[in-house]
């Protein structure tokens, strides 16, 4: 019997000692590996890499395929190249990244920056939001925004028109510019800010560059000109993310490595550049898309908005408002030069190229077609080329299938399915429904 008594005792002690509450309670159900809150500096790199990766990923691939810089030749990309494969689910990853990995993170970080009065930090976050919103609405037109990003509180966000979103972009950029002009307010962006290492003057110029990019789509060329004049003055001020190496490689390198042979250089762009005897740049771009491609490298510099884009904006705005002055012509050449610089081509190659009268015909002889064709080449793999083509029809392209090149992206399949406030698939045509500024 003694043994039994001991056993009961041991059991009773073990239960009493632990106690129900302690056994199942306390921090047992607290995730030890993932925090419930983090400071802005820990969020910043994740947001920025996501911004760069989405821009250089889905946005670059789809947009540059539609404008025939790259061609889908195998597997899923073959039918996407024919437009038939551009079903809603193909846009899921981009949509998800934009809302979940960028806009929602920016919202959380901005709330924290605003609460703590980190004004310059808030400005940087606002510029990134404006940048992302503009990319998104340029391909998706109306989207959830004012009612979005509320989690389970609002599970069917309503869609805002593109003009509402464009107005918000203006507000965000204006507010950022105002904040950059004031006191930093405590924490300032530092090395965790991977694009410009916390250089607020550079961010201020980026905000103006984005306003210029936006004004072009709104056909407000004089505003575009004045904003462009306040933008970055050299490629050193480009908004860009430098991928380190193959361990975290650029989007195109990863695509070419993991989906070898699906996308290749497009014959349309090859013909266009061959006609212009643009042989040096063509040699840089027109290689088989593998990890050996010398432009689409592991340590890719993913540009988001650049000095050369601003130069072409100046050239175009000048052409449209003043009919083509010396300043516009200089900007046009500076844009071409910056493109040669980006690829690592030297002064000699540039000089030889612009020696051709059809490239550099002199002030007064420049045409809109030349400006936008050079912009198209200089912005190889930059998603903005799709907006430029929809805006201007330059360069002239023939559909790869059917009679119309898609003028927008479809919404993601998950939005159609899960958001009762989304339009239905049948109500959206990627061929006919031009986005707001393109109507």
């Amino acid at each position: 019997m003694k043994v039994i008594n001991k056993l009961i005792l041991v059991f009773a002690i073990s239960f009493a000692f632990v106690g129900c509450e302690d056994f199942v309670g306390g921090e047992i159900n607290k995730d030890p590996n993932n925090p419930v809150s983090v400071p802005i500096i820990a969020q910043m790199p994740a947001i920025q890499v996501a911004v760069a990766d989405v821009y250089g990923g889905a946005f670059s691939r789809f947009n540059c395929m539609l404008v025939q810089q790259v061609e889908g030749v195998a597997r899923q990309w073959q039918s996407m190249n024919q437009y038939t494969g551009l079903t809603p689910n193909r846009f899921d990853a981009a949509w998800n990244n934009v809302y979940e990995n960028i806009l929602n993170e920016l919202k959380i970080a901005q709330a924290s920056a605003r609460d703590q009065g980190y004004n310059h930090y808030l400005g940087v976050l606002e510029v990134m939001e404006a940048f992302t919103l503009m990319n998104a609405t340029d391909v998706w037109d109306d989207m959830p925004y004012t009612d979005a990003l509320n989690g389970a509180e609002s599970i069917n966000p309503t869609f805002d028109t593109q003009s509402t979103i464009y107005a918000s972009i203006t507000n965000l950029l204006d507010d950022a510019i105002k904040l950059f002009g004031g006191a930093a307010g405590g924490l300032v962006p530092g090395s965790e800010e991977l694009f410009l290492a916390g250089d607020i003057d550079a961010w201020n110029r980026v905000a103006h560059a984005l306003k210029a990019r936006k004004a072009m789509k709104e056909d407000d060329y004089s505003l575009a000109m004045s904003e462009a004049m306040q933008a970055m003055t050299s490629a050193a001020g480009n908004l860009a993310y430098q991928y380190p190496d193959a361990s975290a490689a650029g989007q195109w390198y990863r695509f070419n490595r993991d989906r070898t042979g699906d996308l290749e250089f497009h014959p349309t762009m090859r013909a266009l550049m061959t006609d212009l005897k643009d042989n040096d740049r063509l040699a840089a771009f027109d290689q088989i898309f593998t990890t050996d491609h010398t432009y689409m490298t592991a340590d890719f510099l993913q540009e988001l908005i650049t000095f050369r884009e601003v130069q072409f904006i100046i050239a175009e705005a000048d052409f449209r408002t003043a009919g083509g002055t010396q300043a516009g012509y200089d900007a046009y050449l500076a844009g071409i030069k910056a493109s040669f610089d980006r690829i690592g081509l030297g002064q000699a190659e540039y000089d030889a190229y612009v020696a051709q009268p059809e490239i550099a015909p002199g002030v007064g002889n420049l045409t809109l077609d030349m400006i936008l064709t050079q912009k198209y080449i200089a912005m190889f793999l930059q998603p903005e080329v799709y907006s430029d083509w929809r805006r201007t029809g330059i360069p002239a392209l023939s559909p790869t299938n059917g009679t119309v090149i898609p003028v927008r992206w479809d919404y993601s399949s998950t939005e159609y399915l899960f958001n009762t406030n989304s339009p239905s698939e049948a109500e959206v045509s990627i061929y006919n429904d031009k986005v707001g500024w393109n109507r």
């Binding site: 969020q43 947001i47 996501a50 990923g57 990003l149 361990s247 070898t260």
Partner: protein, 1090 residues
């Protein structure tokens, strides 16, 4: 040495129990005096026993002290005889049904089978071991109604998924709880790579030596498992292991077997057309072009050339310094009549690649017992090589079970099991290093072996690699790994060390009060290393990835049970108890990328190293009570209740114990109506009705679901590999896409079960039918949100599901004569789970798979519907089409003449439910024929229906490798069945060649519907012939036999054996995407006893 001496000491210790024994002999006959052959005689309370021989004679050594022998024989009343001083016991057995069968029920409580108001089914250990399966789960196929087992991969050491009564949880675990000797045991499958790629994975029950299993009891419904609470809601497999018997001299058993495995079937591939595509001039495109498809010219129109001046000669980079063509020693291919006249070889890169796998198993056990103690020590060793070169599986087990009764009424017992499992695995599935992915895509014009025999090519580096370490494959170094490269340079190693067991103390105060205490532990360390050599097509820079999983489970029970009779008519059983359970899985991963030089796959050779830790833990407490009241042998009523507390319901920021608690009851009734009927002479011997009702609550399936967290994100969009923080010295955090919910409550399922158990002809014929219906409410699921909310999912109590099914077991002994007997058992299973509701506004929920076809929960559909792209139909649904099923009407054909898909099926913009992976029913038909000392058994396994998405065929149609594409490309142009947009019959004639199969309705296109195929089968799961060796003096008999597993099957599926699952043992089933083919096995086995 230490270990060996320990073993020796234990053996000697055991031998000392070998007390005075004596031999009892006798003859067993029926009432007419005919000898009964194969009647079983057991020493009561032990596992020691024998069976009668051809003359009905037996000889058994029994302990000197008072023992009782139990005589049993199918169709006869079981009888117990006190041995006393007798040395000869002749017994006349009377026909009748045995009603006193005792079965083990929840918490190890032994109950009379007839008292149970719910279905349980027992499978004997030797039925599992004779199946030849090294995984106990595989050995259960067809042996009990209500069970569904699916082997995930033909890779040696690949795991299996088991379900009892289909699925009960929407997103949580659906596999049954495994209880070994009273305590919970880990049967998890841990994946360290994407579920659609990586290597095959084990289920941890594979660590149990099947020879250690005494019996397996399958507790199916909620009433049967109520005492296990939450974790028993998916059914319980109760495994009782073999023990030593008291007062029994030493028994030694030695078992040895050798098995031979070969692959079963493969998808139908074409061998007519070469690599290439339609182009100007010559359509052949050699490896140096990187061409992926086999849309080139006929092989019969090609011959070799070595002259580099030939107009079709490839460029200089396709030749080595000596001017030899790099990709084929015979030269490059040119049009017939322009080369050297040697016709092109048609290379078979598939069947010869596979080898005969071999499995060697040796097991020994030593058991015995004395007056107060027993022991059983067993050890086993399994060594297997796979059908895929370089795949290996080794398992070593040691188990000691012992008990001690130091004083009257007290029993202390315990067991220790140690298992070491090692695996070498090859990449499979959806990744460019996947073995079959590269193998099946290889055109017949390319030789993966580079001229070597397949056996030699495995060890010949020049078969798969050039001197500069670039891969030699059919796409000129791009594309996919050469299979011979994969089996050498992309291997996964797993090293599992596991110990589990229990310590138990029972004290019997009286029949009315037995106190029990049982603590179980289960500790598994699983250390993995996955290698990718430099120039791997998945990780071109090379990668070494270490994963370490450490899983610890502790399970303790405290029970007070008692039983007795209140009056002559009324009996009472009761149980009160408490249970504490703790689970902790600690996973760390260290990954090294971008190796500096080839040939050294080690972290020190990596230039980028990243790591993470992931701890998953929870605890639960349960308090149970159960009362059974019986009236005569007629009525048995059981009532139980359980209160659980589970940490997974706790909010760490505001913990309240009451929020984690939940209560649920059950009741069951058994009515033995045959007691009320005078069945004399009718052949009807037993009849029972069963009725039960049970509720069971479940916590969230995952820990930490009550809070929202930030995670270190993985960034990308699904086309190239994602990149992971830290990146170049920066860390990053991102709000998790999954929103936590502090207000979660337990989900609740309610089950009604009714059944009838009928036996005739003294039990020679038995029929057991069970129907059940389970309603699940407030199911916890990670409901999908539109991403515009900023999140992908939120944990909600919102699901509703109804599961119902029928199980029928028919047992019969149609023939039983002195020399010959035939036993047969049919197990029929039909179960169906319908998703009634997910969450407000949400019609589907992703489980697993791909963008083109995935498994989802879809409202109104059966669990885990295959969901994907469909053809457009006349009555095209809109997104208001709630069911998401394929709409009615004919397929609409694209009749836009400017379209590149003119004349092909048009694509429905809405993805739909295109298949149901759940079988319509499953039948297992078991037969055993005994003739004298020979036993022949076979098991037919029929699985009717159950769709599988044939992703392999989908992809191979794009590449023009499947026979289907060889046939369709040669057909005359005909209109595809369907209607044009104006509703008139389609008259646009097309040939389904490369344009078709690479379009949006072909491989890699937007439509998955055309490759959903019936994955049902009829198969000869087991067949065996054995001869039982007669006992002689010190030799206590044994058996020698040969058996086959999976020797034949019939299926409409055009691919590998449809018993396969890309996503391993998880909830998303129904996918085949370059899965490893299954195997058929022949096993020769010898078992001897001393």
């Amino acid at each position: 040495m230490k270990r060996l001496s320990l073993v020796l000491a234990l053996v000697l210790f055991g031998a000392s129990f070998a007390l005075a024994q004596k031999t009892v002999t006798g003859t067993v006959t029926d009432e007419s005096g005919e000898a009964l052959i194969g009647a079983s005689i057991l020493v009561k309370g032990t596992t020691s026993g024998t069976v009668t021989d051809l003359d009905g004679k037996y000889s058994l050594s029994v302990p000197e002290a008072s023992s009782t022998l139990v005589f049993s024989y199918t169709g006869f009343n079981t009888q117990e005889v006190e041995v006393g001083a007798q040395t000869v016991i002749d017994l006349v057995m009377s026909e009748g049904v045995s009603l006193g069968e005792v079965v083990v029920t929840a918490l190890g409580v032994e109950r009379e089978e007839k008292a149970l108001g719910y279905a349980v089914q027992q499978v004997k250990g030797d039925e599992v071991s004779r199946s030849g399966a090294s995984n106990a789960v595989d050995g259960l196929v067809g042996k009990a109604a209500g069970i569904q087992v699916t082997r995930s991969s033909g890779s040696v050491g690949g795991g299996s998924r088991i379900l009892i009564r289909g699925v009960t949880s929407m997103v949580g675990n659906n596999q049954p709880l495994i209880v070994i000797d009273g305590v919970r045991t880990n049967n998890e499958t841990l994946l360290s790579q994407a579920s659609t790629a990586g290597t095959a994975a084990s289920n941890r029950l594979m660590d149990l030596n099947p020879e250690d299993i005494e019996s397996i009891n399958v507790l199916k419904g909620a009433a049967a498992t109520a005492l296990y609470g939450t974790s028993g809601s998916t059914g319980v497999i109760l495994i009782t292991t073999k023990k030593g018997a008291k007062q029994n001299r030493l028994d030694v058993n030695f078992t040895s077997s050798v098995g031979f495995d070969n692959i079963t079937q493969m998808i139908d591939l074409q061998s007519e057309f070469a690599q290439g595509r339609p182009q100007d001039g010559f359509d052949y495109r050699g490896s140096e072009t990187g061409e992926s498809g086999s849309w080139g010219p006929r092989m019969s129109e090609l011959e070799y050339a070595t002259n580099r001046d030939h107009p079709n000669a490839p460029g200089a980079s396709a030749f080595d310094a000596e001017g030899n063509y790099l990709y084929d020693k015979n030269g490059f291919l040119v049009p017939q009549g322009t080369g050297n006249g040697i016709p092109a070889n048609i290379y078979n890169n598939v069947d010869p690649f596979f080898q005969t796998g071999m499995t060697f198993t040796n097991a020994i056990s030593i058991a015995g017992g004395g007056e107060t103690a027993t022991f059983r020590l067993s050890a086993s060793d399994l060594k297997a090589t796979g059908v895929i070169p370089n795949e290996e599986y080794e398992r070593k087990t040691v188990k000691l079970a012992s008990s001690l009764s130091p004083i009257e009424g007290l029993t202390l017992s315990g067991s220790v099991n140690f298992t070491k499992s090692d695996y070498v695995r090859v990449q499979q599935g959806s990744n460019t290093s996947g073995l079959l992915l590269g193998m099946l895509r290889t055109p017949v014009s390319f030789d993966n072996t580079n001229g070597f025999s397949p056996e030699d090519a495995v060890d010949q580096v020049s078969a798969y690699q050039f001197p500069d370490f670039k891969q030699r494959n059919y796409r000129g170094g791009g594309g996919y790994d050469n299979p011979y490269w994969t089996v050498n340079n992309a291997l996964g190693f797993e090293d599992v060390s596991r110990t589990f067991g229990n310590v138990k103390a029972d004290y019997k105060f009286s029949d009315w009060a037995i106190l029990g205490f049982n603590i179980g532990y289960d500790i598994t360390t699983d250390i993995r290393k996955q290698e990718f050599e430099i120039n791997s097509r998945t990780n071109a820079g090379g990668r070494v990835q270490h994963n370490e999983f450490n899983t610890q489970q502790y399970d303790s029970y405290f029970n007070l049970i008692g039983s007795g009779r209140l009056t002559d008519d009324i009996g009472l059983n009761y149980l009160v108890g408490a249970n504490a359970f703790s689970f902790n899985n600690h996973h760390t991963q260290t990954r090294g990328d971008q190796l500096v030089f080839p040939g050294f796959l080690d972290l020190s050779n990596a230039t980028a190293v990243s790591a993470f830790e992931d701890i998953n833990r929870f605890r639960s407490l349960g308090f149970v009570g159960q009362v059974e009241v019986s009236y005569q042998s007629l009525l048995y009523l059981t009532l139980s209740a359980r209160q659980d507390y589970d940490s997974r319901l706790g909010d760490p920021t505001d913990f309240k114990l009451e929020n984690t608690g939940f209560f649920y009851p059950s009741a069951s009734l058994a009515f033995v109506f045959s007691e009320m009927i005078n069945s004399g002479g009718t052949g009807f011997s037993f009849g029972k009705l069963r009725l039960s009702y049970a509720q069971v609550g479940s916590p969230p399936p995952n820990a930490y679901s009550t809070s929202s967290v930030f995670v270190s994100p993985s960034i990308g969009d699904g086309w190239g590999d994602n990149i992971q923080f830290p990146i170049a010295g920066s860390t990053g955090f991102d709000q998790s896409a999954l929103l936590g919910n502090p207000n979660l409550t337990p989900e609740l399922s309610t089950t009604l079960e009714a059944g009838v158990d009928l036996r005739f002809l003294n039990g020679r014929l038995g029929l057991d039918v069970t129907y059940y219906r389970t309603e699940t409410k407030d199911a916890i699921l990670n409901a999908s949100l539109p991403r515009s909310t900023g999140y992908a999912n939120v944990w909600l109590n919102s699901g509703e599901m109804t599961s119902q099914g029928i199980e029928i077991t028919l047992n019969a002994t149609p023939i039983q004569t002195n020399a010959f007997s035939w036993n047969t058992q049919v197990n029929f299973t039909k179960s169906e789970s319908i998703v009634n509701k997910l969450a407000p506004g949400i019609e589907r929920l992703f489980l697993a798979g791909f963008n083109s076809a995935g498994t989802y929960l879809v409202e109104g559909n059966q669990y885990g519907a295959i969901f994907g792209g469909a053809y457009l139909r006349e009555q095209a649904g809109t997104d208001t089409d709630q069911s998401l099923n394929i709409p009615g009407g004919q397929v609409v054909i694209n009749d836009d003449p400017t379209s590149s898909e003119y004349g092909f099926q048009a694509v429905d913009p809405t993805q739909r439910s295109i298949g149901n992976p759940n079988p319509d029913f499953i039948i297992g038909w078991n037969n055993t024929f005994s003739y004298k000392r020979f036993t022949l058994n076979f098991l037919l396994d029929w699985r009717e229906g159950g769709d599988l998405w044939n992703g392999t065929a989908w992809a191979l149609s794009f590449f023009g490798r499947s026979q289907l594409t060889a046939d369709t490309r040669q057909e005359a142009a005909t209109p595809i069945a369907g209607v044009k947009s104006d509703g008139t019959p389609n008259d646009i004639a097309v040939t389904r060649g490369r344009n078709y199969w690479t379009s949006s309705v072909g491989g890699f296109g937007a439509v998955g519907e055309q490759f959903v195929q019936d994955g049902g089968w009829i198969r000869l799961r087991e067949v065996g012939l054995s001869y039982s060796l007669p006992a002689k003096e010190w030799f206590k008999g044994g058996s020698i036999g040969v058996s086959g597993r999976n020797l034949w099957f019939q299926s409409d599926y055009d691919g590998i054996d449809p018993e396969t699952s890309l996503t391993s043992t998880g909830n998303g089933q129904g996918f085949d995407y370059f899965n490893m083919p299954s195997t058929r096995s022949v096993i020769v086995k010898l078992s001897v006893n001393f």
